[in-house]
Subunit: 507 residues, 2 copies
């Protein structure tokens, strides 16, 4: 009785944590979408107060005892309860690994660094940025050491584990080594091929209300549940809120409908995962999304494998033409030309604007810098040079003196986040592998897409990914869903079919 | 040193409370303006979690000791600190007065009752509403008794004190007795006079984007600080958020621009008070608005004394004509006809739609029902009959069988709020008295209005009301600002000048 009640105490405690996180999630969304300019400081203070409170709740001294008792008493037949206890223990362990003075110091330093970065980036001012960034790195190294000591992992792995549970840098090394060998030559062949391929692009401007209508239509086709979510506008698109109230955002540019449409498809992919998480475990850690790499696989799958497929564009083409076709160039709205323009490859400086072929180069470059940086084998002042070398090597671009399009372009490091970048490319690999499995299990799937029917895809993902929450570890989730653990060959296959063979019957 | 640190502990504790209330305020705004339909239940749970947490923080057992030590150690010369301690003690006392089981039971019963009311009101179903409402009344009576025992006040007074600190029903009786004698005959005289007064009304529809533009222009003229607030849309207009981020809302009807404009002026009045609260005491109880009656005085002053004045309409008339004038009837946009239509009196069933002359009758009726109800001298089943009697007596209207336009029209009682209604009419009285004082201190004030210049009015209110927060008790605030404590003669004067004498040089 006592032991069973320990589990109930844990359930109650995590319900409290999730309820308060719910309010924090709404306030974060509001921060990006609604907050008037002058209220930033007080909002930041209120959010910091909540984070301290949540950290205190996870460091509650009663939790380890409750966990031990509940684990002993757990029925072996109730595997979801066991998984929930495992995930509770993970959250507690991550929160207690770092001493609170360091948490506070790093939070403050990161906030200061990020605020300054918003100005210094625009000024291309690396030197002015360096002192604050060095302080963030110093504290992140300490954090990594404390997490390593607590978990027995290597320092960088301990940081990556926060976003990608179970993933280790040895495995990332292997996966990225494989891609690094494949990509440079592949990119050149794609570029050569695309040089001879004519692309007609629709003429803008594309009025924003019509772009919004197109986005809402796409969300509807993908299966977004508007009773449990909304679409709004922010500077950078994101997916926020809580599973019962998923808030995705996009941005509009009058001369670029594709940026808007693709960001809506991407964020809707994230949203479908959140909306499909197991409701019977709401508020419990086991009901959370499995990892950032799985989350990104869902957004990329709907943006890349579905949204940029020839078949789905066959469905979208007449809708887009009706909503957005204002100029004379009707042929540009054909599925063929939409497909060509939405799969155009161009090596460039900025990660967030990269196509799916060159994107991994941006991620590998960052991984190869942030890992030695956290391990103390690379210093902040060496970053620009290493950055430039790797950009030359992977994409043939020089970033000498161009900090704002080089190491100052991303917010992650400035905000103290290290070990996150691999998740983007793990996501792309997961997406290709998962999609290949759906394709195998659902004959004629691409014809569904051409009719705007995503129901079989949604059902497959819902059953094998979304509704499983954090019930399984990442490897086992992928194995049960696709038949094997992560294998980079599917991503390479996807790129080859799409970008070299131009085989529309494949993905 | 120990004692001084008690005060610092209190300051820190209340900063934490206000930071968490900040997130709750944003979530409440989101609930009314943004939340998708399906997320209601989980949002309610998250909000309830926050309320429990805030109540726990106010019932922290260390607080009485800190308060006692800090009060002993307080420097007599620091009157703001003393006032802050008084307001801290008030919040602690209000939170600890009711036992937590009752708080929880009443919160749940009220939530159930309010949810059911949204359906039953539309169905005019008093009988179906009665059981849930009786349970709310039963628990509210218990709450009133516990608050009475804790404070030494009478039960109803203990409830009213939550909204109107220091106000007692003996004084409300006197103020309302005076109005009750004045109003019925006065209303008849105004109706007789207005019968012979021709009013031209502008023809709609008035496009919503133009209505919004007019509202934003009016907010700008009143001095709303858009760096610290926003205007959005909700079912019922309200003023929410926090002083650094004030969220006001309005609603739009294509055929009624006046409803929108007047609600914007009203909520902007609330917002100006919030934005003008003392920033150097942010997060501390002494920086909060003084009382609901003072809050309502600011909204009513800007809606009634300013917004519906002939002089301000002289300023607004050309702006309104330019934005909204689509039909042929140009004369209807003259200041004279706008003034006549915006000061038209018509006894009707619904409080929230009432003009300023008949409004007090709605409030007095509710006060005369809720007070004996809380004191156990009146039962729920007797309410419809008493309601009808009083409506007949005060406004000459029958509500027999018409529950939805009778006792089911307001949410307050259904949600467990008793002792709040008097604040509306206290607000109207405060507004008239305060405005008379400004008028006296600022010669030619109405000419300012005719030029759209509210700077002298804002400065006066900012110095004497807004920036004082809760530094003074209500009586003293009014005495220092206007020269005397609340005197109902100013409200009667305001009504007489405006509605009988039609004297535009007075207010």
């Amino acid at each position: 009785m006592k032991k069973n009640s320990s589990y109930q105490s844990l359930v109650r405690h995590f319900t409290k944590i999730r309820n308060l996180q719910h309010l924090g999630a709404i306030a974060s969304w509001d921060e990006a979408v609604m907050r008037p300019q002058g209220a930033g400081e007080y909002r930041a203070e209120a959010m910091a107060e909540l984070h301290v409170l949540l950290n205190d709740l996870l460091c509650d001294p009663r939790l380890p005892e409750w966990l031990a008792e509940a684990q002993q008493a757990a029925s072996p037949s109730d595997s979801w309860q066991a998984a929930n206890l495992r995930e509770m223990a993970r959250e507690v362990s991550q929160a207690t690994a770092v001493d609170s003075a360091l948490v506070e110091a790093k939070t403050k330093a990161s906030m200061r660094c990020e605020q300054t970065w918003r100005i210094k980036r625009a000024q291309n001012d690396w030197t002015g940025m360096k002192p604050l960034f060095q302080e963030v790195v110093r504290l992140a190294r300490l954090e990594a050491q404390q997490r390593a000591a607590h978990s027995g992992l290597k320092p960088y792995d301990a940081m990556m584990d926060l976003h990608e549970p179970g993933m280790r840098s040895d495995q990332v090394d292997q996966l990225f080594f494989d891609l690094k060998n494949f990509l440079p030559d592949f990119i050149q062949r794609v570029l050569a091929r695309q040089r001879s391929e004519g692309v007609l692009r629709p003429d803008g401007p594309f009025p924003i209300p019509q772009q919004r209508q197109l986005g809402l239509k796409a969300m509807e086709v993908l299966g977004f549940d508007f009773r449990h979510g909304r679409l709004d506008v922010s500077h950078h698109p994101f997916c926020g809120g809580v599973p019962h109230d998923v808030r995705i955002t996009t941005r509009y540019q009058e001369h670029d409908f594709a940026d808007n449409l693709m960001s809506v498809l991407h964020e809707t992919g994230h949203a479908l995962y959140e909306q499909g998480l197991p409701r019977e475990w709401t508020h419990q850690p086991v009901s959370s999304a499995r990892s950032m790499g799985i989350h990104e696989s869902q957004s990329l799958l709907f943006e890349m494998q579905v949204g940029r497929s020839f078949h789905f564009l066959q469905y979208l083409s007449p809708i887009m033409k009706e909503l957005l076709h204002l100029g004379p160039n009707e042929q540009a709205w054909s599925p063929e030309h939409l497909y060509r323009s939405l799969t155009r490859v161009k090596p460039d400086f900025i990660r967030v604007n990269a196509d799916e072929v060159t994107y991994p180069a941006h991620v590998i470059l960052r991984y190869e810098i942030e890992r030695p940086l956290i391990e103390g084998r690379l210093e902040v002042e060496d970053i620009p040079e290493v950055w430039n070398q790797k950009m030359q090597q992977y994409l043939g671009l020089s970033t000498v003196g161009n900090f704002k399009d080089g190491p100052l372009q991303d917010v992650h490091w400035m905000g103290g986040t290290f070990g996150y970048f691999p998740s983007y490319t793990l996501g792309a690999m997961n997406a290709a592998q998962i999609f290949q499995a759906v394709y195998r299990d659902c004959p004629g799937l691409l014809d569904d897409f051409a009719r705007g029917d995503l129901s079989r895809l949604r059902r497959w993902l819902g059953e094998r990914i979304w509704s499983r929450g954090s019930f399984l570890e990442v490897n086992e989730l992928l194995r049960q869903a696709t038949g094997e653990v992560l294998n980079p060959k599917y991503f390479k296959q996807h790129l080859s079919y799409r970008y070299l063979e131009r085989d529309w019957t494949q993905v």
